[in-house]
């Protein structure tokens, strides 16, 4: 049985409400999804929360998965959850009268607990613009191809390719 057949069997089980199959999906994707959320938020407890929301949504929405790349589908939900979270944060900020702060700066403002050690990659990632940072995260953690990324973002593949290349090049320079 190939990896794809195995995944198809697990997803079918999920659609039938099999708890064991959902557990397998969690084991397969929790690490990557958590990395995606963590690199975007720089906050462990927020990432914990977003990961929990993601898998709860997965149970709710598995019926709407109609085939194709499961990773693309899952990370599209993850991306939506992240954007919803950003919107809530933004609204809270507005309420706190911090309208002048741009979305781009938000990730650097995420509160971290003292015990959290932020690596150099996280620091440098926060210097990229929000859209590029998310694109890089999707590329690395979802393992989507450029074609899939372009489709997910509803933009031409050339745009995705050049945006990602520019971002990765800048990140590489920052890390050196």
């Amino acid at each position: 049985m190939t990896e794809n057949d195995d995944l198809a069997r697990i997803i079918t089980g999920c659609k039938n409400g099999d708890n064991e199959c959902f557990s397998q999906v969690v084991d397969m994707y929790a690490s990557r999804c958590y990395g995606y959320f963590y690199r975007l938020t720089s906050n462990k407890s927020v990432s914990d929360e977003l990961l929990s929301i993601l898998f709860v949504k997965l149970v709710e929405k598995i019926g709407s998965y109609k085939g194709g790349s499961f990773e693309s589908w899952l990370f599209r939900i993850a991306s939506n959850i992240f954007h919803d979270y950003l919107r809530i944060k933004q609204r809270q900020r507005k309420l706190l009268d911090e309208r002048k702060k741009q979305l781009e700066l938000e990730t650097t403002v995420f509160k971290r607990s003292d015990s959290e050690k932020i690596d150099n990659l996280q620091v440098q990632l926060s210097k990229l613009d929000a859209d590029t940072r998310e694109l890089i995260m999707l590329r690395f953690y979802s393992q989507m191809s450029f074609k899939e990324l372009a489709k997910t973002r509803s933009e031409p593949i050339g745009t995705t390719l050049s945006k990602l290349h520019r971002g990765l090049k800048k990140l590489r320079e920052l890390m050196e």
Partner: protein, 172 residues
Amino acid sequence: MNGRNDENLKELFEKFYNSEQTYKAVEDVQKAEQIFREYPAPEPDKELIAGIKTAIAAGLLSRQRGIFRTIAYRAAIIAASVLILAAISINLLDKRGRSEKLVYASIIPRAIWESDNIAIDDADLAVLTGEIEQIEDEVLALQLGESDSNGDSAATELEMELIDADSYFWKG
């Protein structure tokens, strides 16, 4: 759709860049991805994963209960609808059956209704009404034991009066 591991970066970049740019772009992408491998993001805690699995199990259970409840409610509604329809149908059929059995008949002869002499008919009716009232009074007196005569003769008298009234009425 193929994943990232199946795609040929060089071929992809060559569609948009010249060969030198393509070489550089592929190198940039690969080196940046290498950085990600060197700096792995933290892993989710085991407790978090266990909590997520528990939440999923609970969610599935409540969803199954919800589905069962929905089916039960629907079945109950359908059963109730069938019962109501059956009751209405039986009621309608019963009414229809009963209406066929009904026989309409006039208790007053057609000759009376079709009489042209209204003045005579009115006078007859007045006499008849008076006699009926008198008989009613006598019956009432008998029931209450107020009559002076003995019961047998009183009843006979009443019977005679009724016969008189009846023959007088039908004779016109």
